[in-house]
């Protein structure tokens, strides 16, 4: 495995790289200039429901890609399939050019494709630090033949402990490192799970709703961490419902609805896409009225559209500029 923490061999700063992500038009399933994951005809059905039916999907390398879509769109199932935690009815996909369909989940993780879970999985009866150490790879002490001899694995243990301390500090969990993970709050568990997945030193991090339940005071710094992953040369794919967050950090957005990819593109563009608004209108009936911007947009949208979409969170989806443009048009009449 090469070191994942470099800034690319071509000396491009991934934070400021503005080259086009897609080759050609930004259509669902479009080709990417430099894909890290390429999936073809991946389908999975549960009984009668087709949970995932993805014809073609490419995840751009060194970018932050958001996977959005209403509940039940198949985002988590797609994560499970790509990482080997579930078996598809059909389909093939590659990671860094290697065919990994049918490869066991732990091997996928070892190749550098590491995911977190929507339902957080931390080891409550291990300390925060032990959770972190568990994530580290290449530990000689994890082999039965060497486990008895601390002199063999002690050095690597110190190394990963240091690595863990740095990460815990970043995620503001350093004060908790000797506590049992069971004592953490839901949001802190999300943070721990994410920090632990970074201990694997992945090339692609797949985060399933990383912000759910995280204290709003922490989300800003968490956003910065995710952006930093890109700076460190990692690729990020994440599922998120909060459109503000998506707008903030995603370079690319993939929209799923009813198992299919219905739209793709840069955040600003995707959020104006009628297919996306449709997808959300069909499925979402809860609106976040606690959010000032959400209300403002909702009102604007109400004025703009006869068929009111009050009671949906599609309002939060729509870029204000789009609505404003729409309003001006109306006034002009």
């Amino acid at each position: 495995m090469s070191t994942p923490n470099n800034v690319g061999n071509d000396n491009i700063d991934h934070m400021t790289d503005t080259r086009a992500i897609a080759v050609g038009e930004n259509l669902p399933g479009c080709k990417k200039r430099d894909p890290i994951v390429v999936a073809d005809n991946v389908t999975r059905s549960f009984g009668g429901i087709t949970a995932v039916d993805v014809e073609h999907l490419e995840i751009p390398r060194h970018k932050i890609t958001a996977l959005i879509g209403p509940n039940g769109a198949g985002k988590t199932t797609l994560f499970n399939l790509l990482t080997g935690f579930d078996t598809p009815n059909s389909g093939a996909w590659t990671f860094e050019g290697n065919n990994i369909a049918g490869v066991s989940s732990y091997k996928v993780a070892r190749m550098g494709m590491v995911r977190t879970f929507q339902l957080t999985k931390v080891m409550g009866k291990l300390t925060v630090m032990e959770n972190m150490r568990l994530g580290a790879s290449k530990q000689p002490g994890e082999r039965l033949s060497k486990a008895l001899f601390k002199n063999i694995w002690g050095a690597r243990e110190r190394e990963i402990t240091q690595q863990a301390e740095v990460l815990l500090k970043k995620f503001k969990l350093d004060a908790k490192k000797d506590d049992y993970a069971a004592s953490l709050s839901g949001g802190q568990r999300k943070l721990l799970e994410m920090a632990r997945s970074l201990m694997v030193q992945p090339k692609l991090v797949m985060l399933d709703e990383p912000m759910a339940g995280v204290n709003p005071a922490l989300t800003q710094s968490l956003l910065d961490h995710i952006k930093n992953l890109k700076a460190e040369g990692m690729t990020v794919l994440f599922v998120e419902h909060d459109m503000n967050m998506v707008r903030h950090i995603a370079d690319w957005v993939v929209v799923m609805a009813e198992g299919r990819i219905v739209a793709e593109g840069p955040p600003g563009e995707v959020m104006k896409d009628p297919a996306v608004i449709d997808a959300y209108l069909g499925a979402h009936h809860d609106v976040d009225l606690g959010d000032a911007e959400g209300i403002r947009e909702l009102e604007a949208e109400l004025e703009a559209d006869e068929e009111s979409i009050v009671g949906t969170d599609a309002a939060g989806m729509i870029a204000p500029e789009a609505v404003e443009a729409h309003l001006e048009e109306e006034e002009g009449k």
């Binding site: 935690f85 732990y106 080891m123 032990e130 994890e142 082999r143 060497k146 601390k150 694995w153």
Partner: protein, 323 residues
Amino acid sequence: MDFGNILSLALGEIATPTTAAYALAALGLAVHFGYSGLLNFGQAGFMAVGAYGFAISTLTFKVPFVVGLLISLLCAVIFALLLGVPTLRLRADYLAIVTIAAAEIIRYIVTTNTLFRITGSADGLSSFQREFDSFNPFPAGTYIFGWSNRDLYVRVVSWIVVILCVVIVWLLMRSPWGRVLKGIREDENAVRSLGKNVYAYKMQALVIGGILGALAGLLFTLPRGSVQPANYATELTFFLWTVLLLGGMSTVLGPVVGAMIFWVVLSLTQNLLAGLIESGAVTFISIVQAGQLRFILVGIALMLLMVFRPQGVFGNKKELAFA
């Protein structure tokens, strides 16, 4: 009623080879369940495999002691693999069902009359311990607590084996290898997502706990000089679980202390009840019934323990495996 005698009988149980065997078998269960979350309800089967593996290879194949010992442990490894290969990829309860059934199958096989010449059927086997006895370094005579030189020898050997195994398990569990097992105990998918081959780790844990069970089978039979199928019934497995729960399951000393408490309490209740009956203070049960009653008392004690101290004597409540 002679309380002094009753007490010294009870305390005498602390050091018996049987207590050592229980401690070791329960240590195996601690590796299985306490550290790895594997539900083994067939530890009696592992003990039987160890005991019969040794007895049969010594009596039928006339192998020397060390070879018999190795064969016995090898049998346990094979038994573990047979149980683990089909079940360890499935949910935890499959292993539980398969182990409980396999232990019974072993017992029925060795009881079959057809195999009388090899297994001795229900009578079991005996006189396979002669070479083991010949290693006794203690000259004939009476030693502390009125032990004969053989009493002393089997106790010393049994507890050396237990201490060695406790140290090894302790070293294993504080290592990164043990950390992976503890992770699997809680959430094997999370451990998979971090790139660990969960199946291989579970198999290793099953084999190691099984080897401890087989060794315990030897500690159980060598001092007696006989092995009988009736000793390896399902209740043995449940006594071992009692021992594990008593002592605390995610610790290495738990099984040892649990085994000691188990046998001391069993002896105390037996002798106290017998004393009360003999002295006429208790008239409504017979001595035979008293023998049954003490197991009821053990059951009640276990329930109380689960209610008031679920982590066992030594356990850490925060690490409780089934919380």
